[in-house]
Subunit: 284 residues, 2 copies
Amino acid sequence: MDVDAYMAERIPLIDAAIESRFDPGPTIPESLRDAMRHLLFPGGKRIRPIFALAAAEAVGGRAEAALPIAVAVELVHTYSLVHDDLPCMDDDATRRGRPTVHVAFDEATAVLAGDALLTEAFAVLSDPTMSSGDPAAVMLSIHALATAAGAAGLVGGQVDDLLFSPETDGAVDHERLASIHSRKTAALFRAAIVGGAALGGASESERKSLLVFAEEIGVAFQIADDLLDADSDEAASILRVQGLDDAKRGAEGLLDRALGRIEGMCERAEPLRELARFCVRRDR
Amino acid sequence: MDVDAYMAERIPLIDAAIESRFDPGPTIPESLRDAMRHLLFPGGKRIRPIFALAAAEAVGGRAEAALPIAVAVELVHTYSLVHDDLPCMDDDATRRGRPTVHVAFDEATAVLAGDALLTEAFAVLSDPTMSSGDPAAVMLSIHALATAAGAAGLVGGQVDDLLFSPETDGAVDHERLASIHSRKTAALFRAAIVGGAALGGASESERKSLLVFAEEIGVAFQIADDLLDADSDEAASILRVQGLDDAKRGAEGLLDRALGRIEGMCERAEPLRELARFCVRRDR
């Protein structure tokens, strides 16, 4: 199958669902609305939401059933970029070739836009007009996202990322780095894939397999990112503790193991498998 | 009834439920955990969570049923204080006689602690071990909180609060100020009371009455706060656009109307009525 075509087909679906959250309705201050949209349109690869849709399909559900978690995960991903870029954190002035939110607006607006994006993620998931599925599945997806994004996940990973400096013992660094990647990157892959599967009607055993699959693919995705970005001065890069070839082999090993977890799934899991391969072998 | 005794009885219940979210379990970086707890213990009056419990009782439910939304609303209230205090917002160095989070820790930790508190609110609500109620009621409480806290609620109110300067036309100011108070203060009262009622098994018509009750009490609470704080230099104070006596009369009028909304409720709504009176007539 053509993974590029699969992605290109699903992006408009995801974009329209995100866009619908900004339809005229409740009053949002204009500067806040603009700041919230700044990194959303144009957005990135939308890889996490695409995984959510593919996970719903892999367990026999409709891709559309996973739209609430797809949108929610993209909103959380975007909030985390807005806050990570702040002067008190990574202090980045540009992202994807454009000024970051605190540069295009101001610092207070960037903090508040991030807060609003994070909150909106849970508004989408709990919106009765968005979710057609059964409330128990929706609850599972909300809990998956809140756990992935919180103090033991994304936020905790960013705290440790800020503290990380690759100056000490290599073995210790490798472990700490893996833990940061698991929380900063893999966490949202877990929420997207397990949440999408839940909304697609997954059984408990399917959700369990997909949780491990998502963790492995999320970490492999981050390694591929570090490899594409090999000459950056990022402290928390796998290349600070491992050579290029070792890192590549590591990512391929994770991919193999991940694909093994979903071996038993039917043909409808094929897009999920192709997306996993894309994550590791991509050149962008 | 003795409203002080009622409050004193319920605070330990609420504190224990908040404390249980920090039980050893998932790994949270120590500095993050400490920063999250900084404004939680010792906390404030816990007025919003107490309202949540009283709302559950008012519709014939058990107070304990409302604990998830009680905890969640207190976490969201605390996150909003942490972020509002930041240098790029109100730049406050102390709160309740102690250093604010960015002073006691640092700015990055304060942003991240706020993010984690907000996220944890939704983790509590969606945690299957916290909620014994039916998933539809839980979903209602999650949606009430996300709507209250988001871009059209708390966050939007803070954006407009930062822009507010009471220099222009008085009538326009009064309207804008009311809108800020509705979003910054009343929103979380709405989430606490409607969410608590939902978890207590409220009917749709009970939820509708309580929504208006909560809005009116929330605004009255804010007026009482401004009156207690009459000599502060807060820009967005009712006393900038209204005299002391007018403001007092306004709060009493809101209280009367609010009590009218729940007139038909049984004796079990008595604590809710007493709490409403306390909010408006308190001296602390």
